[in-house]
């Protein structure tokens, strides 16, 4: 029986035309939506930074306006600890970028830093830490925090993002982003107060139900961030606001 002849040229031609038309449609749509999506990305970043800075913050440093902190000297003494809070790129460069918040008068209200922790229950977690300088104590303390990336189990570690309904209502009334209950407990804590109640001081932070590993890892990471700020206090404060 003769094998039916396969018209490769024809088949390739039809596929080519279909792919060409599909690609054309997508290129057109991309041209329309890309600027919108990029703008949203920038707005999301700015909003995330503003969310962790204290109330009264009106403007935030954009990507190109951040304060670059050179950690080479700090790394020599505390490399192991710093390795556990900086993202991979910052680790290699031995520096980190701090985004400053400004109030209406242009005074610096606080600093936001993008951080990472490697020891979450299901791996790396990324978060944004917001810190303020308390001149009375001559130390940095936590303003707020926001977890930006995690792979934790829903119902357990993922409750680090859980917002109580009362908070959702309150936040909507006050036109601000709602703060998850676990992270709300970090407000105004200095480095020495960053510990869990479980197995620690009575005024410690309440851990997530049945998610001790996640709670411990996050609290330890926040403590490292505050300690990093305290060690580099002089450099951060000397830099002031953007030029």
């Amino acid at each position: 029986m003769a094998e039916p002849k396969v018209d490769y040229v024809g088949l390739t031609g039809v596929l080519f035309v279909i792919c060409f038309l599909c690609t054309g449609a997508l290129v057109g749509l991309d041209a329309v939506t890309r600027p919108i999506i990029d703008k949203q990305k920038v707005e999301r970043e700015l909003r995330a930074r503003k969310a962790v800075l204290p109330a009264g913050t009106e403007k935030v440093d954009g990507d190109s306006e951040s304060l670059t902190l050179d950690l080479a000297a700090d790394w020599a003494a505390n490399g192991g600890e710093l390795e556990k809070v900086l993202g991979e790129a910052d680790e290699k460069a031995r520096k980190t970028h701090l985004f400053r918040g400004y109030d209406g008068a242009g005074k610096v209200t606080g600093y936001a830093a993008v951080c990472e922790l490697p020891d979450g229950y299901s791996g790396t977690m990324t978060f944004m830490a917001g810190l303020v300088y308390d001149s009375a104590l001559d130390q940095f303390k936590v303003a707020s925090a926001k977890v930006t990336g995690h792979k934790e189990t829903p119902g357990l570690g993922a409750n680090i993002d859980q917002v109580k309904y009362a908070e959702t209502v309150a936040a909507a009334k006050e036109h601000r982003d709602p703060v998850p209950w676990f992270l709300a407990a970090f407000k105004d804590r200095t480095a020495d107060k960053l510990a869990l109640r479980k197995g620690g001081p009575a005024d410690g932070i309440e851990a997530l139900t049945a998610a001790t590993i996640t709670s411990k890892a996050f609290t330890a990471a926040m403590k490292r961030v505050v300690e990093m700020f305290n060690r580099n206090k002089a450099a951060i404060l000397a830099a002031g606001g953007r030029g």
């Binding site: 088949l11 596929l15 279909i18 599909c22 449609a25 999506i37 119902g155 309904y165």
Partner: protein, 226 residues
């Protein structure tokens, strides 16, 4: 490919909904995405609507091209059309509905490999004219969406004691008048510890299995009664 016997738009539309041909419970297609995405009702609705649009557009395009696409390259051709349609949904949602898009995450892109879309392209759109193919696409999508809404609602109520992200207890507070007394006593009953199992994969398997069994029993009773 030779066309099958012609069908009307409404027949094609209603078969997956009332005619015993639901893509999930009868044909058991698209189970992975159905179970993975339905941790709450909002996700289920968003995913369902996404699939309705993709199925409608893909069935239409493939039906229009059914005499043009050669048999030997039909699968690559169908997948290209499906991927394009899903990317259109993805980009449009990212630009104009960013909150929903963030919730959907990777599941939106995974519609490309949702069995239902390719299965209906091969089994129906390539053998029927445009209008019935549109009906089939919308019907299958809606059938899928209905099951997703049921799963999403059940898993959210049982696994997070909430609906649409609002704790159930709050709903009692929103009702006024005589209805409120009745609702309030229900709300006390609703202040229960949710079962996390329901928002995890095993819970979805259990729910889908029970749903399929219930539908089969009901369908068989209906057939026996005829």
């Amino acid at each position: 490919m030779a066309d099958s016997a012609p069908e009307s738009f409404s027949d094609a539309l209603m078969k997956p909904l009332t005619g015993g041909e639901n893509p999930i419970t009868a044909m058991m297609l698209g189970l992975c995405s159905a179970m993975a995405v339905t941790t709450n009702l909002m996700n289920g609705i968003a995913m369902g609507l996404g699939v309705v649009f993709v199925m409608w557009s893909c069935n239409t395009v493939i039906s229009l091209l059914r005499h043009v696409i050669p048999k030997d390259v039909r699968v690559p051709a169908y997948i290209t059309v499906i991927a394009t349609s899903v990317t259109i949904v993805d980009l449009t949602m990212a630009a104009y509905m960013p909150a929903v898009h963030a919730q959907m995450g990777i599941f939106l892109a995974l519609i490309v490999v949702n069995c239902i879309v390719l299965a209906r392209a091969e089994a129906y759109a390539s053998r029927n004219s445009v209008i019935p193919a549109m009906g089939d696409g919308i019907g299958m999508g809606l059938g899928y969406a209905l099951i997703l809404c049921f799963l999403g609602a059940s898993r959210e109520v049982l696994g997070a004691s909430a609906l649409f992200g609002v704790p159930l207890v709050e709903y009692a507070g929103m009702v006024s008048g005589g209805l409120k007394t009745g609702i309030e006593s229900m709300a006390t009953a609703m202040d229960y510890q949710p079962s996390i199992l329901m928002v995890l994969p095993p819970g979805s398997f259990l729910l889908i299995g029970l749903l399929m069994a219930a539908i089969r029993v009901a369908w068989q009773k209906k057939l026996a009664g005829e």
